[in-house]
């Protein structure tokens, strides 16, 4: 029996689909101008994220407050979280905001250190005076409870990742508890957001900014609506948005272009597959009659 074009569409070798997928990814990566042809329009949530940091820079001109950048990502989600963290730290350094990094994954300690040190060299940030790396903490809930207890922050963290007591680090001198924290930024592929909100954010309504992998982002929408989360960067699209807002164009911008083409390809395949399925079924019904 002769097979029609639509029936053949149902049996495309999956390797052909993979090859096409790789093609639409590789071309915008190698030719950034091609990916750049797809406009990046920052989402409202990314704008809120950006504006919260901008607002902090304006409301605290003497830089008395500290931003906590918490990372729970590792090499497995580098494709999204690394570029988010790079874009966020770039913005903090552009606005000369003091920050501390905290890791709840041992790999994250090293990965965050690499990003912070590379950017610090570019933006002339001095370790200890402008930023501090708190390092890895294995206990999530006790650390959060310590941070949120009155005058308990230094007791909860104790030392930076090199073992220096926080009291001896200039940027930590006046940081005693949550009242001295300007914002908390959570970069993670895990479901830790609820615990940050439940144990820390609600205490003094400290702005909480969330940068998850795209798969985790829908979980945050109810928190955005209730105002418990002040801004959201959704995966690598969020990183691309942020690069657009901060004027730095690296991987996030390229990846967003590639991602748009990938989605277009998937939509085309979904349409072709469905049309092929229905046409094939109608033909089979006619033959049956």
């Amino acid at each position: 029996m002769e097979t029609s074009l639509w029936q053949r569409m149902q049996t495309i070798d999956r390797r052909v689909i993979y090859a096409l997928l790789l093609l639409v990814i590789i071309v915008p990566i190698l030719v950034p101008s091609l990916g750049g042809a797809v406009p990046i329009i920052p989402s409202q949530q990314s704008l809120d994220f950006y504006n919260t940091i901008e607002g902090l820079a304006k409301s605290d001109p003497e830089r008395k407050k500290l931003v906590i950048v918490d990372g729970w990502w590792a090499a497995g989600t580098r494709g999204e979280n690394q570029w988010q963290e790079q874009a966020i730290l770039t913005h903090l350094m552009q606005r000369r905001i003091h920050f501390a990094t905290l890791s709840f994954d041992p790999q994250n300690k090293t990965l965050t250190q690499n990003i912070a040190q590379n950017l610090a060299a570019k933006y002339h940030y001095v370790y200890g005076q402008d930023y501090v790396l708190w390092g890895y903490r294995p206990q999530f809930v006790p650390t959060l409870k310590g941070i949120s207890s009155p005058n308990g922050l230094q007791e909860a963290i104790k030392t930076d990742q090199n073992g220096t007591p926080l009291g001896q680090i200039p940027v930590m001198k006046d940081i005693k508890d949550l009242k001295d924290i300007g914002a908390i930024i959570e970069i993670t592929p895990t479901g830790s957001l609820g615990t940050w909100i439940g144990l820390v954010q609600g205490k003094y309504n400290t702005p909480l900014l969330y940068a998850p992998t795209a798969v985790m982002a829908p979980d945050a929408y109810p928190f955005l609506d209730s105002g418990q989360v002040s801004g959201l960067l959704t995966g690598v699209k969020g990183a691309g948005d942020y690069e657009q807002l901060t004027g730095t164009h690296t991987f996030g911008t390229r990846a967003t272009g590639a991602l748009s083409l990938v989605y277009a390809l998937i939509i085309v395949f979904v349409i072709l597959g469905n049309v092929g399925y229905h046409v094939g079924r109608a033909a089979a019904r006619r033959e049956g009659q």
């Binding site: 990814i25 494709g79 439940g198 609600g202 982002a217 829908p218």
Partner: protein, 224 residues
């Protein structure tokens, strides 16, 4: 050897590139190279886990204070060993003591977590259906008022339908309730579809990153 070749054969990058290609090769066909690297990754992860447990947890939090003279830390060893009582009938009660303590701690935290995290959401779920007082100088007053009411009405309708779908305490015989619950199920399906779209975004972003590593960071076929 040229600078480019030195870069190409730098062990760290070369291993990363070969590992990436080996793992991705499985989408085309099951093969021995993939199996080999799967086992290498598993071994690496296990070794890394053991090393990290010692260097980042046990040594700084237990061993270093212990040898510095804080001998009370030695008491954590028999307490920790009580967990292993679960493997014998005779000493099972020991593990139950610890599990009881941890359940209590976790339950207390979850309660605090829940009330702090979800109560503001419950409160915000009741949205006003009357528009707020107009902002002076707003040229689109009517449009803003209408969109405000429609947005909140849509939110409340979806909330009502979805909550109704999860009411299993009574049989849903009334046609209005049946219809609302069915609509709630459709809204849920729409939400699951959006979540699935986000899942694809993550998977593709990870693949894009691997391609970036291979073609830009390793092969340097384009500028970073």
């Amino acid at each position: 050897m040229s600078e480019y070749l030195c870069h190409l054969f730098a062990p760290q990058l070369l291993l990363g590139a070969v590992g990436t290609i080996a793992v991705l090769s499985r989408v085309f066909k099951e093969n021995r190279l993939y199996r080999l690297f799967e086992h290498i990754f598993l071994g690496l992860a296990l070794g890394y886990g053991v090393e990290i447990t010692w260097t980042e947890v046990l040594r700084p939090q237990f061993w270093d204070p212990l040898v510095a003279g804080q001998w009370a830390w030695i008491m954590t060893v028999p307490v920790g060993l009580m967990f292993y009582g679960i493997y014998t009938r005779r000493f099972e009660w020991m593990s139950r003591l610890l599990f009881g303590v941890f359940f209590g701690l976790a339950a207390g935290t979850v309660f605090q977590d829940f009330s702090g995290g979800f109560m503001p959401q419950v409160i915000k779920s009741y949205k006003p259906l009357v528009p707020p007082p107009p902002t002076p100088g707003d040229h689109f007053l009517t449009l803003h008022a209408v969109s405000f009411v429609l947005n909140n009405l849509l939110f409340m309708t979806i909330l009502f339908c979805v909550v109704l779908y999860f009411l299993f305490a009574f049989e849903q015989r009334n046609r209005f309730i049946q219809g609302s619950a069915r609509t709630g199920r459709w809204f849920l399906m729409l939400a699951f579809g959006a979540i699935f779209g986000s899942t694809i975004m993550t998977r593709m972003a990870l693949l894009i990153d691997r391609m970036y590593f291979l073609f830009v960071e390793w092969l340097r076929w384009a500028k970073p």
